[in-house]
Symmetry: none
């Protein structure tokens, strides 16, 4: 089902898809869904997931929401010698520049974001992509 | 069903009960469930609920978790002339002393907390109580 | 024994005295001892004490240390219509203006502070006084 | 003695073991013990230890508690060019990614954490390990 907005029903569908992916991958994930304003719509922490996963999942989603790109996109740019070095502490630490955050777009607008933490970076990204596919099935 | 621990399944059951109560009451609520350590297990924001509801729901739940009592219990005590006046800003504002936060207990231990924001205080309390009843049906 | 400085041995003696008093009073207390610089020397949280007690105990001790008076002394002054109204949020909430914080003095200098949380205000004050008496037996 | 829970008695035993180790090593350490929820159970700062040691000890313990691994495990991962570079500021700086933080486990669950600061990293780790050995003698 193509969602027409990122409401609670859509967020739950995204979380369910992410959770199913995480279970198959053996990852205990924390999954956060933000709306276009950067406010939480829903989150879950799977049993046994690190307590600290929320800080990471939220920060990844906030990065994707706030800068209109996957959080992983900025990782090369913040390395020593690169233009965005030291940007990571902007906002008192509310951005987490680490793969696993994806913006959610609709008709070209960023209407929210997904953040995932709990596995290896590649796993977190794959789980976030599963959530995104549940929102935009055709993409 | 009496839950034996506050895991994600229990948290979802509590949220579902709270949400059902809120819908009947016509309240657009934000509902947060913490574990005994004060870490989020799950949260939802119902469609149309204030974005700021999360700060309130989280702070109410944190108050109940951290002081082992309903957040409403402290409201009379922080009034002008009362012993706890001005305690509100403790912890940099992470406690919200306002009805709608309830501790979740199991065998006498505080194993988590519920926080609700979105309606009148009495409505938020009733929604939180519905969540609690889903965890401890016999109480 | 009259202590000549607020070192770790003295802090432990103060905590032991406070803890013994709390046990007799049936209070599950959190007890924090600061040095003259406002840094923690030692703290304990008794079994079953509220997790939030640390924020309160620390804030009470910081108030006593920073303003050279029992934290209870400022409670009347911050009430509505009084000169210090609204001072409580100074420092982002690191001061707690509530009885249970006492400065520790030696030869007229403030060399540290005690903060206690867990019981009624009067109980917290009595527990803090027991700690102080262990430092300055003659007072 | 194998402890069955991380209560105040257990925390004091862990601190005593850590302190004894630190004294032999000539380290003036700050030692913090958290419960599974990340709340302080007890802490001490040895005479002459840096005042800033508490921030480091607490942050190391919080890292170990929140991510279920020794804080040292993440040090290689946050280096330039590595996946977690720039994660350090997550959570407003409440995590300290530096050796000397260890999770405390019981029956496979993380029930708390130790954080130590004051010496060289290797010394802090060894002091934390002494504390852990006092909790889980057989490990």
């Amino acid at each position: 089902m193509q969602h027409q907005k990122l409401d609670l029903a859509a967020a739950r569908g995204m979380i369910a898809a992410a959770e199913a992916h995480a279970e198959v991958a053996g990852v205990k994930a924390t999954i956060a869904i933000l709306d276009g304003g950067g406010d939480l719509v829903a989150m879950i922490r799977m049993d046994g997931a690190w307590p600290g996963g929320f800080d990471l999942a939220l920060g990844k989603a906030m990065t994707a929401r706030s800068f209109h790109a996957p959080s992983s996109a900025f990782v090369p740019l913040i390395q020593p010698g690169q233009p965005l070095f030291s940007v990571s502490s902007v906002g008192g630490g509310r951005y987490v520049i680490l793969g696993g955050g994806l913006p959610v777009t609709l008709d070209g607008d960023v209407v929210g974001a997904i953040g995932v933490s709990g596995g290896l970076v590649e796993q977190d990204i794959a789980i976030a992509e599963a959530a995104l596919a549940a929102f935009n099935p055709g993409n």
